[in-house]
Symmetry: C2
């Protein structure tokens, strides 16, 4: 639930005067997304999303994100397009925040994942990876494997408050994951956060991808591992291999996986699980009472992590 910054009508009108998209007709905060303030904006010329960048986003990264979104769209991937002001700049300032207007995407994100969603997600992820190949600028993954040990160290004192023995279990898992982490797999630009709330559908047809603000340059197959965590567990944390098979098969039809990528799937999935576990654990221990953001339970990812630690090869994922 996220509107951290209130935008007055005066400020909005002045902001819009620097664009050629007309004047405001409707403006409402969107109750989704946890990192930035998002508003649904209708002007006399159409529908847009206004984003004010808050907290965790490093302003220096914003041109990279916006550039990636433009690059991907130029290559046919449906994602929000930054709208440029009259001076050509897409990244602007509003109410003391960096801000951008992007195009509105039709579609609804699936509150309950069905098997029929998973193929389209795999295919779209592969298209994203191919479309990003010639986007030259790079962005290091701030939440990549090098960040996990420091993140655990910042939670270490209080990890066992969340579950007895959690510190020890995470230490062991992390040691094993980092020791096995592959260093010779194909690298490219990854979405890194392609959860259901970032994928829009119209019926069973995928209509677009949103929220590229965790995107980075990292192992492409790690992005698949994020999706397997995000799309293929049931509400009771049972792994649904039918869903993962659908996701992987659709992916490899567009971008085949190397033998090395296939072999690394278990450790990549373990890494993706511990990445979300650690950021959720950090937030869990550090979110003040009464904050606007609902804390997400880190232990949901402990359940996933244990599954992936038990997986011996890609067959566990249906390939």
């Amino acid at each position: 639930m996220a509107v951290y910054t209130e935008v007055t009508d005066d400020a909005l009108a002045a902001f819009l005067a620097d664009y050629d998209i007309g004047t405001v007709v409707a403006f409402r905060g969107i109750a989704e997304g946890v990192e930035n303030s998002n508003f649904s904006l209708r002007t006399t010329t159409g529908d847009f999303i206004l984003t004010l960048y808050e907290r965790r986003v490093d302003p220096q990264d914003l041109p990279w994100f916006l550039g990636l979104m433009e690059h991907l769209a130029q290559r046919g991937l449906v994602c929000p397009q930054p709208v440029h002001g009259q001076d050509g700049a897409a990244l602007r300032q509003l109410c003391g925040r960096y801000a951008a207007i992007t195009t509105f995407l039709p579609g609804v994100w699936p509150r309950r994942v069905r098997q029929s969603h998973c193929g389209p997600v795999g295919a779209a992820l592969a298209r994203l990876h191919l479309a990003g190949a010639d986007y030259t600028p790079r962005r290091a993954n701030a939440l990549g494997p090098q960040s996990w040990r420091p993140l655990l160290d910042r939670c270490r004192d209080r990890a066992n408050e969340v579950q007895a023995g959690l510190e020890h279990e995470l230490d062991d898992a992390l040691t094993r994951i980092l020791a096995a982490w592959p260093d010779n797999l194909p690298v490219g630009h990854i979405h890194a956060d392609l959860f259901p709330d970032n994928v829009f559908f119209l019926g069973d047809t995928l209509s677009g991808l949103i929220d590229f603000y965790f995107a980075a340059t990292d192992l492409l197959a790690y992005d698949i591992a994020v999706c397997l965590n995000a799309w293929c567990f049931e509400p009771d944390f049972a792994f649904n291999v039918t869903k993962s098979r659908a996701l992987l098969r659709a992916y490899v039809q567009t971008r085949p996986l190397s033998a090395g990528e296939l072999a690394a799937l278990p450790v990549l999935c373990q890494g993706a699980a511990i990445r979300f576990l650690l950021t959720r654990l950090f937030d869990w221990l550090n979110t003040p009472a009464g904050a606007l953001v609902t804390r997400k339970d880190p232990l949901e990812y402990l359940r996933r992590l244990r599954f992936h630690l038990s997986a011996s090869d890609a067959a566990a994922y249906g390939l």
Copy 2:
């Protein structure tokens, strides 16, 4: 910030099948309103708001609210219109909640109130009062003066946690207000919650009123008193008599006030201040840590209450 209930795409599609408004094109939670879950819904035929009624709304009152909105709109007041299903019913069920679809209103609520907003608000309030005159069903005001003493009693033990001496100050004020409460003023249907976030503007033109879920049958002039509290204090809690004069003058041009209503303005304003003070105080003391709803500071209304207690007549409000 309010989306308390997640609506799955399956449930939404099934729900929409009972209407003649097409299929879903976009669906997003709205980060506004604290009582119900609101979603912005675009279908193949247009834009709508989907509301799921939560918590404080008594389901038995919903037909009255929806009926009032239809009645007011038929008499030219711009407010959301309930959309009827194929069976004629506007009030339906979705995800275990009562639910209704209403029409989408263009406009933006003013995050910062300017004097130019206040006249249109006064005029719209008067039109609402006249348009409601022949809506026969009545709804007692559950948050009217008879509710204030019991509400204070439920907060009494812990009121002084919020501010030293608060219990005593509220007891004194409430005794004074209830003793002076008028019982012979014109009665009608009031909005009872016409705060800036419930009034949409396009530029300086008022484009519609929303959120009738506190509406009730009560003293019409009490509704004016709510508006004077909601629209005419500056962020530092100074009363802006220029704003209140604009609001009142515009009101009386459409619906003249009787001598009795004018004379009662101070006590009605005191009552409106203590009503919002008490519900905020109750919420402040009873909102669990980590709740999605931001607690609003009850003491903002103590500042207003003190101003109104110092007002001796309608001249204090610019009339």
